[in-house]
Amino acid sequence: MPTSEFLLEIGTEEIPDWMIEPALASLKLQLAQAFLLYHKSFMDALNGIRLDATPRRLVACVPQLPSKEPDSEEVTVGPPRKAPQQAVDGFARKLGVTASKLRVQTTGKGEYWVLAKRKKGHTAIQILSLELPHVITAIKFPKTMYWTGKNGPRFIRPIRSLLALYGGRVVPFSIAGVKSAAYTFGHRVLGKPRIKVTGFQQFLEELKNNGVVLKASERREKILAEAARLLAAAQPEGYGTLRENPGLLNTLVYLTEFPTADMGQFDPAYLELPEEVLVTVMQHHQKYLSVSDAAGKLAPRFIFVMNLDGDSSGAIRHGNERVLRARFNDARFFWETDQKTPLRDRLPMLEHVTFQSQLGSYRQKTERNVALVRRLAAFVSQAPVEHAARAAELAKCDLTTELVKEFTELQGVVGGLYARAQGEPAEVADAIYDHYKPESMEECSPRTPAGALVALADKLDTLAGCFSIGLKPSGSSDPFALRRAAQGVVKILADHNLHAPLPELIAAAQPSGEAAGQLLEFFLDRLRYYLREVRGFRYDEVNAVLAVGAQDVPDAIARCEAVRQVRPTSNFEPLSAAFKRVQNILRKAGGVGQFPGEPDAALLEAGAEAELDGQARRVFEETKESRDYEMVLRRTAELRPAVDTFFDKVLVMAEDERVRRNRLTFLAWLLRAFTRVADFSEIVVS
C-alpha cells in the first residue's frame, strides 16, 4: 500500500503553557480513536507520529499514512445451491440485483448462492477530512471557551489557522469558519504571517526562517545553553550558577516560540530581604530563573527569557530590571509595614479571615490547632510542647500580613521569618515556617519535632473538620486539598518515625459521627498510595503487610521493607504458597476463628508433624518479641522444608475427629504465629 505524509498544524491564540504537553498526548489519542474505525494500517501508521508544539500551534506529522484502505468484499449468503430458482430470484430481488450477479460459494455448511459486493476503501483524504474536525475539537483541555457564539465549537483558545496536508494536498475541512489550507504562519514579530507549506521538512525550514523553533527540546536547550554562556561570561570569577527549576524552565519553553535568554541584575541591597521572598518574586511572579553565587547564596542577578531573537537596544533587560525593582520595593514595603504589627498582635485579626464558612474563622481554627497540639504531644515525644503550642498559636497570623496577601504561596514561610525577626525562639519560628509542609511527596517534612507536631495538628484538624461537614474529596474535585493533607500526615509520620496509631490521631482531632471511620479509610488509601508510589513497594507486598495491621505507619514501612528484602530468598515464595494452602484448608473447615488456642501436643503425630511443631515453636519463641522484621521473616522462611515435609507426609483431614481437629488447630496456630509481619497468602507467587 503506498503511503504519504500527513501534516496537521492547529494554529491558535496562546495556549496556557502547562496545558500544551497534555494536549499533544490527547491529540494523538483522538487520532487513534478516529482511526480505530478504519483499516488497521491507519492505526499502525500512528506509531511513527511526531508531535510538536509552541504556544500558538499544535503539530502532528504521520510520515507514512496509507493513501487508502484496501478494497474489501462484502459477502451476503443466500439460499443453498439446490434451492428452487424462485428462492434464488427472491434473494437477488431483495438485494436489488438480478440473479445473474449471484455466484455459488462453498461454505463450511455446503454450497450456497451468495452476492459478493466490492466495498471500496476510504481514501486517506476522505478519512482525514471527515474525522479531523471531531479529532481536533475533542482534544481535552482543563478549561475551554467558545468564541464564535454558543453554537460554535469549544477549544482552549480560538483556532485561527488550520494547516492540513496529505501527500502535499490540502485535506479539506473547516472548524468555526476557519478552512484548512496549505499555509502556516511565523512568529508574531520575527516571521511572515502567511507561509505556503508543501511538506513537513519544508514546513520546519520555513518555521525556522520565520522565527519559530518548533521542537520543545530545542527551545529548552537554547535557553539552557544561553544561560550557561551568560553566567560564564564574567570570567575568571563567573556570575554563579543557575538554580535548577525544571517546572519554570518548562513554562518558559511553552511560553515562547523563539526563546532568547538574557541576564539582568538587581541592587545587592535587596539581598537584605529574605531569600525566600526574593526567589518567589523572581520565579513565581516574574518567571525569572535565579542564580547562586559561588557560596550557593542568592546572587543579585537573574536570567529572563524573551520571546524574541535578542535585545540589541537593551530595552528589554532595562524593562525587566525595572519591574523587578518595583516588585522588590513592594516586598520591602510590605516587610517593613508588617513589622509594625507583630504576629502576636495579629491573633484577633484572624477573626476576619474565613477558614471555611461552617468551620469558622482562622481564629477558631487556631484555637483548635493549639488544643490538638497538646493532645497529640504524647505521640511526638521529642517535641517541646510549649514551643509547639506557641507556634500553633502564631502559625496562621501571617495570613493577615501584606506580604502573604501579595505572595500567598509564602504562607507559613513568612510567619516563620517574622517570628524569628520578632524574637520568638528558633524552635517556634522553624515550626511556623514548616507547618504547611510537605505540600508534595517530593518536599521534605518539617525539619523539627515541634514543626512535625504543628503540621500534624493543622492537617488533622482540617481533615476532621471537612469530613465532619461532609466535604470529602470526590473524583478529581478536592478543593480543600484533603488528599494532600492526609498524604502529608502519612509522610510526616514516616519521616519522623512516629509510631502513632492512625485511629488515635483521628480521634484526637475529634471528628463527628461517621467521619472517624471515613477518615480511617481515607488514610489507608493514602498509606497504600505512599507505600506503592512513593516508596515503590509492590502491590502484593503492600497488601500482605497492611492485611495484618495498618495503624502504625513507620511499622508498616519497616514490615514492607523486610518483605522486600526477604522475598528474593529461595524459601520465601514457596512458603507463601504453603501458607495459602493452610488458609484454604482452614477456610474449608470453617475458618481460622473456629480453631482457637494451641494444639494438644499429645495428639501430634511423631515424625513430620511433631518435627514441624518443634521447629515452629522454637522460631516463634525466638522471634515473637522482635521488631527486626527481616530476621523474623528469614527465620520464618527457614520453616519451609519442615512445612513441605508436613504436607507430604501428613494427612490433615485425618479420620479420627480429635486428631483432625487438633491438626487444624495446629495449622491455625501456625498461621496466627507467623503472620505478625505480613499475611503471606497475599503474596502473588511468580
Binding site: 511560553l255 516574574q286 525569572y288 514595603f333 479571615v353 474565613t354 469558622g360
Partner: protein, 320 residues
C-alpha cells in the same frame, strides 16, 4: 519624548475610535473596574453588536496606600475596550494599538500569559491572558463567557489597559507619582501624577481605612439594595413592550454599583465578618443578575417594533 499620561489616553482613544469604537466618557458612579460600567456589563448581554472604548477610574479602597507606595493606588485609571463580537484579528489589533502608543515590538518582549478573569459579584467570568511587556503586566485580555450569570452570545472581547503602568513604562519612571500627566509647554512645566492625584490617594486612604463610618455605610448599603430590589420587583415582566422599554433598569443598575462600592468600603474598613462576607457578595450578585435578566427581556422588547410589522425572524428572537 515619551507620551504624557493624557497623550497616552488620547492615542489609545484615537486608535480604537478608528476601529469603529464609540469613545465614551468615564461612568459617573464609583466602580471597582471598567467592566462594571453599564457600557460593558449591560452592553455585552444580548445579541446586538457593540464597540466601545472609555477611560474608567477604578476604585479599590483596600488597595489604597496613603499615596506612599510608588505602585499601589486606591484609584487607578483603566482604558476599557469592548469589541462585540470579537473579531478574528483581535490580537493583531491589540498589538497595533501598542505600536500606536510608541512601543516598537521589534525591541520589546510581548507575551500572552494565561489569566482567566472572574467577578463573583457580577456573576461574570471569561478566559484570557495578562499581556506582559518586558515582564510588566500591561493589559488584561478577556473573552467574556458569562455575565450576570448568563452565557454570552456573541462572545465579546474585553481589553483593559493599566494606564499608570503603561505611562510609567513609557516614561521610564519608578513611581507612578512621577508620571508626567501632560506635556510641558514652553515656560510651563508639565504637571505630575503627584500634582494631580496625590491628595486624592492620601485622603481617600484615610477615609477608607480610618474615618468612614461603618454604621452609615451599612445604612447606605441597605438603602441602595432596597431601592434596587424595589425597582426589580416593579419591572413589568408580563407587560406591553412599550411599558418595558421605558422602565428605568439603568437606574436600578446604578444602585447595584453603589452597593458594590459600599461593600468594598466596608471590606477595607474591616467591617465585614467571616460569616457576612460570602452572604453580602451573594446579595450584590443577586441584584446584578436580576438587572441583567430584566435587561435582556427589555432588549427584546426594544427590538420589537409593533405587532403589525413583526417579521418572522423577530418573532423567533422573542420566543427565545
Amino acid at each position: 519624548m515619551a507620551l504624557s499620561f493624557q497623550d497616552l489616553i488620547f492615542r489609545l482613544q484615537e486608535f480604537w475610535g478608528r476601529q469603529g469604537c464609540v469613545i465614551q466618557t468615564p461612568y459617573d458612579v464609583e466602580v471597582g473596574a471598567g467592566t462594571m460600567c453599564p457600557e460593558t456589563f449591560l452592553r455585552v448581554l444580548g445579541p446586538q453588536p457593540y464597540r466601545v472604548a472609555y477611560v474608567q477610574p477604578s476604585r479599590r479602597p483596600a488597595d489604597g496606600r496613603y499615596g506612599d507606595n510608588p505602585n499601589r493606588l486606591f484609584k487607578h485609571w483603566q482604558l476599557q475596550v469592548i469589541l462585540k463580537p470579537s473579531p478574528a484579528d483581535i490580537q493583531d489589533l491589540y498589538l497595533k494599538s501598542l505600536r500606536h502608543i510608541g512601543i516598537d515590538l521589534r525591541k520589546h518582549d510581548i507575551k500572552f500569559e494565561e489569566d482567566n478573569w472572574e467577578s463573583p459579584t457580577l456573576g461574570a467570568w471569561g478566559i484570557g491572558w495578562q499581556v506582559m511587556l518586558d515582564g510588566l503586566e500591561i493589559t488584561q485580555f478577556t473573552y467574556f463567557q458569562q455575565c450576570g450569570g448568563m452565557d454570552l452570545d456573541p462572545v465579546p472581547a474585553e481589553l483593559t489597559y493599566g494606564l499608570e503602568r503603561i505611562a510609567a513604562f513609557l516614561q521610564d519612571v519608578d513611581s507612578v507619582y512621577d508620571i508626567a500627566w501632560n506635556p510641558p509647554k514652553r515656560g510651563v512645566p508639565s504637571f505630575s501624577y503627584r500634582d494631580v492625584r496625590h491628595a486624592d490617594e492620601l485622603q481617600f486612604s484615610v477615609y477608607n481605612f480610618e474615618r468612614a463610618d461603618v454604621a452609615t455605610l451599612w445604612q447606605l448599603f441597605e438603602l441602595h439594595e432596597k431601592e434596587c430590589r424595589r425597582l426589580l420587583a416593579e419591572y413589568p415582566s408580563g407587560q406591553e413592550p412599550a411599558e418595558k422599554r421605558r422602565f428605568p433598569l439603568l437606574a436600578a443598575y446604578d444602585q447595584v454599583l453603589k452597593c458594590s462600592h459600599l461593600f468594598n468600603l466596608l471590606d477595607s474598613r474591616g467591617a465585614i465578618s467571616v460569616t457576612e462576607r460570602v452572604a453580602v457578595i451573594g446579595r450584590v450578585r443577586e441584584l446584578a443578575v436580576g438587572v441583567a435578566r430584566a435587561w435582556i427581556d427589555q432588549n427584546v422588547a426594544a427590538t420589537f417594533r409593533s405587532p403589525s410589522d413583526t417579521s418572522p425572524s423577530e418573532e423567533a428572537v422573542i420566543a427565545d
